[in-house]
């Protein structure tokens, strides 16, 4: 066996894109200006091949002869460490052994076509840097070139003889002496074993095994820890809570069930025979009706903790994981679009200001976007919707929400494994990756997390998942299986445990296909290796199922069967390694009553509203990161694959204005459409989480309705990301948000169909004085909305269409500046948080929908961050026309003394349920008639001249010029902050 190294450099005259990107990052992070770098990518190829053969692989397979040159030699050969130019420092970065290396896997398969005896392949990156002081080199290595949680760095030439992963495994049954432990011992076991169970839970497990008169095996303990983890059981939110606020005390037996689920049940009862929900809060995703033949499913998940440690891999497997939810819903839904929402700290944060263990937010953002891009694009699923929020409290805990919508035939929407069905593992192989993801994701991050939990971080392989998807949908249509679920957090343990809950299951762990040798039975059981699904296949269909899988080179293996024992029985070779009752596993968790209280903050000071230069302020707000254009991100996502794109995330005369929502036509020979949007206002939560939640729901619906979705057919999802909920006030703020979700959903008739929570999003570290510091994220509730449109030709966009058309504002403006972008831009706090008048909101959405349906609205934009001023500026530059606006005509209830204050409030207040609509002169009567009883007024007109002109005519006749800005200047302010290269 020889180990060949093949280095691939850009040919003379070709750009070194990898090097340019590194130099750019080093400058942006303030590490080094104009860092000299030469970059190569390379392959290590181990096999019985001679130079000519290795060289043939380099020329014909691995490199592109027209634009690249290669250096081929045996590892260690001096040729490989000849600097290509004046840069003497050589570094290699390669995935740690066992970390997913999709390119190496594909290369190995492709080499098979050359009929060469090659055993193993590994990829690496090679960098040549100029002379650097040691600390500067270390900074560039750790902050840009490599991530210690998944990659290793070799300084100087590579020095290894063979590529080896895995080792022999000799079976040894591990029994944990649990019965003899005292409370300290129990807690120590929970901590040491990364079980993250509480003392009461550990005691309950101890009692259970005492009654069985035996100690548990490691596999049994791990199964319980995983099933009882916050991530899998939602024990906090679905648990008992005693909640107090200014209205008194309420007790919940199951908080989520009695608030959010109950709202949906009530809506369904009210709808009676017209109920369009199909399956809510049951399956891996919520299901609602779409057309006569199809239902749609929707799920949003978070992947926060892994993304904090390894942004690319975390986001990559985040989107990969949530795609498996619709695919594992019913008998398998076809994924049709993605939505992704992120929360980061300011990417311009100085590198020196970061606490230990925290990755630079710019690197986090770039990594997360690339991770979502590479997985979503490869899966062939358009990423059509998203948002990014910035706040310094996301520094240690960035949030990564990934969502997926699927389409499923109506008759394939339910599943039920049957006794005797084979338990089949489909897709990727099992490896040592992702151990303890479920329990780890439920814990608080610390600066040590990287070393403790590195195994929980993974890289995905989208093509494996795409192959699995192709098989699942074909096998579904042929009726080859009875049930399917995804292998997510908790791996086989979670998937088999859930599927077999009502029957019982026996599993032969030694049969699971492994990536490499050496895994213990417990590692096989709890590994969260990606791209795996578990199916219940009846024996009579096994041959056909297996043949189908072979025809597309997808691995399917029988690893057990569903048996009527009501027990979970695990075997390895001839040994029984676990035997638990399903009842204890799923229902044995001790009930804990958690305290929660909410104290409304003191009424904040009013905000000073006198502004000298409204134009400068507007540009400042347009440049704030939350509002600024996200085109740099959006363009990296394929938002049109599958061919059904109707309203794109970027719209307008230059295809670059901010759409309120995206619309797709999932069935290509039909005109029925789906709208996807979201709402989120973490800054409102600092005032009152109730109004934050209400505002987020209002915003998600506004966005959906603004493009033409029917408000009576919008389904929504909740995703709570919160801090440490063992603190009563933190849990209290969450309960308060859930109460708003219940109230708004019922009043609006908008059902929640699924949801997810991610708790304990806090980051702790020791500062330079050795004091423990903690950064908690702000309470962050994402509301995702899935709307429907009977005929997509009625959809509209937010860009202005025609000079001479009139502009109307719908809704009432109040003095609501709490958490507003006016305050953020001026670095002030205070004011009243925006509230929702829910009855008026319902009537407004219905009336707006009716006028859009009737074709009376030419463009429509909702008012959100930055209020009216930002909305009209965006409509103007997206459409390429100017606006003349008379601010005094805006309907309001401000009661402000000074005219200057009124002007500012009308421009920048963030009151809910407001829109601006463009209406052609001939439609004005019909348009206004539709809004009887709702505040609406004509406030101006669309102008040919490309200026945003705003004035205010006081009652005494005094004329105040307010704004006169060119739309190009405003657009530039909006586009420049995140227009990265």
């Amino acid at each position: 066996m020889t180990l060949w190294e093949i280095d691939i450099y850009p040919r003379e005259g070709q750009p070194d894109l990898a090097a340019s990107s590194i130099t750019g990052d080093a400058t942006d992070m303030g590490l080094s200006d104009d860092l000299p770098v030469t970059a190569a990518r390379g392959y290590l190829v181990q096999g019985n091949i001679h130079f000519e053969q290795a060289d043939q692989l380099a020329r014909e397979l691995l490199a592109d002869d027209i634009v690249e040159r290669t250096v081929v030699a045996v590892v260690g050969d001096p040729q490989l460490s000849q600097p290509p130019n004046e840069k003497p420092t050589l570094l290699h970065v390669m995935p740690k052994p066992g970390v997913m290396d999709p390119v190496a896997q594909s290369a190995l398969q492709a080499i098979a076509d050359f009929d060469l005896e090659v055993r193993a392949v590994r990829t690496f990156h090679k960098y040549w840097l100029g002379h650097l002081p040691e600390d500067a080199l270390r900074a560039i290595t750790t902050k840009i070139l490599a991530n210690d949680s998944i990659e290793e760095v070799v300084v100087g030439p590579l020095n290894l003889d063979e590529l080896q992963v895995g080792s022999e495994y000799e079976f040894e049954l591990i029994v944990i002496p649990l019965r003899e432990l005292d409370d300290d011992g129990l807690l120590e076991l929970s901590r040491q074993g990364q079980l993250y169970l509480t003392l009461v839970e550990m005691q309950t497990i101890q009692d259970h095994f005492k009654s069985l008169k035996r100690d548990p095996t490691d596999a049994e303990l791990e199964s319980i820890a995983q099933t009882w983890s916050e991530h899998c059981s939602h024990k906090t939110l679905a648990g008992r809570i005693a909640y107090r606020d200014e209205n008194g005390e309420q007790r919940f037996e199951n908080m989520l069930k009695e608030t959010i689920f109950e709202a949906t049940q009530q809506i369904r009862r009210n709808l009676g025979a017209d109920d369009w929900c199909v399956s809510v809060f049951e399956d891996n995703a919520g299901i609602v009706r779409f057309d006569d033949h199809h239902n749609v499913v929707f799920k949003v998940e978070t992947h926060n903790h892994p993304s904090a440690l390894e942004p690319y891999g975390g986001a990559n497997t985040g989107i990969g994981g949530v795609i498996r939810d619709p695919l594992g819903t019913g008998l398998g839904a076809k994924p049709i679009c993605n939505t992704d929402v992120f929360c980061f700290a300011d990417p311009n944060t100085p590198a020196s200001a970061l606490p230990p263990g925290v990755l630079h937010p710019r690197r986090v953002m770039k990594g997360v976007v690339s991770g979502v891009r590479d997985y979503g694009n490869r899966m062939g699923i358009p990423t059509v919707n998203g948002a990014i929020y910035f706040d310094q409290r996301y520094l240690g805990n960035p949030l990564v929400y990934c969502g997926n919508v699927g389409l499923i035939p109506r008759e394939k929407s339910a599943k039920e494994p049957q006794e005797g069905d084979h338990i089949v593992a489909l897709g990727g192989r099992t490896g040592r990756d992702g151990i303890h993801g479920a329990t780890f994701s439920s814990a608080e991050l610390t600066s040590e997390s990287e070393s403790l939990s590195g195994g929980a971080v993974q890289i995905g392989n989208a093509i494996t998942e795409k192959m699995v998807q192709d098989i699942v949908l074909e096998a579904r249509d042929r009726g080859l299986f009875n049930a399917i679920t995804d292998c997510g957090a908790g791996g086989f343990s979670s998937a088999v445990g859930e599927m077999g809950e009502k029957i019982g299951a026996e599993v032969w762990l030694d049969r699971a296909p492994l990536k490499y040798d050496g895994l213990s039975y417990t590692e096989i059981w709890i590994s969260e290796a990606q791209e795996r699904m578990v199916l219940a296949v009846p024996p009579k269909h096994w041959d056909e199922f297996q043949e189908l899988c072979q025809s597309e080179s997808v691995e399917a293996t029988i690893i057990g069967r569903f048996v009527p024992t009501a027990r979970l029985q695990l075997n390895y070779l001839d040994h029984e390694v676990a035997n638990l009752s399903m009842a204890f596993l799923h229902d044995g968790r001790p009930p804990i009553v958690r305290e929660a209280y909410f104290q409304p903050p003191e009424r904040a000071e009013t905000v000073p509203l006198v502004v000298e230069d409204h134009g400068a302020l507007l540009k400042n707000i347009l440049s704030s990161l939350n509002i600024a254009s996200k085109e740099w991100v959006i363009r990296q996502y394929d938002h049109e694959v599958q061919g059904g794109s109707v309203i794109k995330p970027l719209v307008g005369i230059e295809n670059d204005g901010p759409s309120d929502a995206a619309v797709v036509r999932p069935v290509l020979d039909s005109l029925r459409g789906l709208a996807v949007s979201c709402g989120m206002n973490p800054h409102f939560g600092d005032f009152d989480p109730y109004h934050m939640a209400a505002s987020a729901i209002d915003e998600a619906l506004r966005n959906c309705v603004a493009v033409g979705a029917d408000p009576s057919r919008i389904a929504i999802l909740d995703n709570f990301c919160w801090g440490y909920t063992d603190r009563p006030e933190t849990l209290g703020s969450l309960v308060r948000a859930a109460l708003a979700c219940r109230d708004l959903a019922i009043e609006l008739g908008t059902p929640f169909i699924s949801g997810k929570d991610s708790l304990n999003n806090e980051f702790s570290y020791l500062d330079e004085n050795g004091q423990k510091q903690t950064i908690a994220i702000p309470p962050t509730l994402l509301i995702s909305a899935l709307g429907q449109i009977a005929d997509v030709r009625t959809c509209i966009t937010m860009d202005l269409k025609t000079p001479g058309n009139q502009l109307f504002v719908i809704g009432e403006t109040n003095n609501e500046f709490g958490g507003s972008h006016f305050c953020l831009a001026n670095k002030i706090s205070g004011g009243d948080v925006p509230q929702v008048d829910v009855q008026r909101a319902k009537a407004t959405f219905a009336a707006l929908h009716q006028t859009i349906q009737s074709g009376h609205v030419r463009s429509c934009h909702d008012l959100s961050e930055g209020g009216l001023a930002v909305a009209v500026a965006e409509m103007a530059f997206a459409g390429g026309y100017g606006i003349h606006l008379h601010l005094n005509q805006v309907p309001h209830a401000l009661k402000l003394k000074k005219t200057q204050e009124s002007i500012t409030a009308l421009l920048f207040s963030e009151s809910n349920t407001r829109f601006v609509c463009e209406v052609a002169p001939e439609s004005v009567d019909a348009f206004t008639a539709a809004f009887a009883g709702i505040p609406v007024a004509c406030i101006g007109s669309v102008e040919e001249e490309k200026q945003l002109v705003v004035d205010f005519e006081a009652e005494n006749g005094t004329h105040y010029p307010v704004l006169n800005e060119s739309i190009e200047t405003l657009k530039q302010a909006w586009q420049s902050p995140l227009r990265w290269s």
Partner: protein
């Protein structure tokens, strides 16, 4: 002649197969989506088809380089099949990843006597994947798929679409032979040779977006015509800029009409 039959070749990671099949069917063809594993076993299968299309996606993840692994499979195992398909006067279309495969398998352009490929598609100058609409100038005099067209508006969505020819001579030969059938254009530049980013979205030499072989019957292009076959696919249809006859549809119509 009956309904033309279209073989849509899919590999692991192909992801535009369904909408491409739909586009051919809208044009009046009968499309079958066939997995590469089946074609490797039944190499005579294409003889029953008039059109062979390799659609967009990320075949084998675009691992190593875009389209490379599927292209190698074709070179190693399906060379005869493709040559015979060509020899029978049939049509081959490669869209995006399919274009990358046709170029890298040397199906589209012949290799030099020294065994060197004529051209390649490599990383965009921007260094990243981009989805955007582009204005294209087309030459329908040679390329069957572009007959009757002079300009098209279509989306691109790729990371490796920069066209680079082996050398100047190869490029000018292709140009002289009317094989540079589809090019990015700009309304911001008076000089048709100078098309700035992002109108030329990837830095392609000579602004090449698509090329055909010397017969005009084999065509590869980076833009996605199957993503513009419905009026509401146009990014500015709400501004009344789209027409009933969506630009991408013409390419599929031309292919089907060639056989009727």
């Amino acid at each position: 002649m009956g309904t033309p039959r279209v073989l849509i070749l899919r590999a692991p990671g192909t992801n535009c197969d369904r909408e491409t099949a739909f586009a051919f069917e809208q044009a009046g063809g009968q499309a079958d989506i066939v997995h590469i594993n089946r074609l490797l076993k039944e190499s005579k299968l294409p003889s029953a088809y008039q059109i062979l299309c390799i659609p967009g996606g990320f075949s084998y993840g675009d691992d190593i380089a875009a389209g490379r692994i599927l292209a190698n499979q074709i070179r190693h195992h399906l060379h005869e099949t493709f040559e015979s398909f060509k020899a029978h006067g049939k049509l081959i279309l490669g869209i995006c990843n399919g274009f990358q495969v046709l170029i890298k398998s040397n199906v589209l352009l012949p290799i030099s006597p020294e065994g060197k490929a004529a051209a390649t598609l490599t990383w965009n100058d921007s260094g990243k994947f981009e989805d955007r609409w582009v204005q294209l100038a087309s030459k329908g005099d040679k390329c069957v798929f572009l007959r009757g067209t002079t300009s098209l508006y279509l989306p691109i969505a790729h990371a490796e679409g920069k066209f680079v020819a082996r050398d100047e001579e190869t490029l000018s030969q292709l140009d002289a032979n009317c094989q540079l059938a589809l090019r990015y254009t700009s309304c911001r530049s008076r000089d048709p040779e100078h098309v700035p980013y992002p109108d030329n979205p990837n830095g392609s030499l000579a602004n090449v977006a698509g090329i055909c072989d010397s017969t005009g019957r084999i065509f590869g292009l980076m833009p996605h015509p199957e993503r513009h076959i419905h009026p509401t696919n146009h990014p500015r249809w709400t501004r009344a800029e789209s027409t009933e006859q969506a630009d991408g549809k013409i390419i599929f119509d031309n292919a089907i009409h060639y056989f009727s």
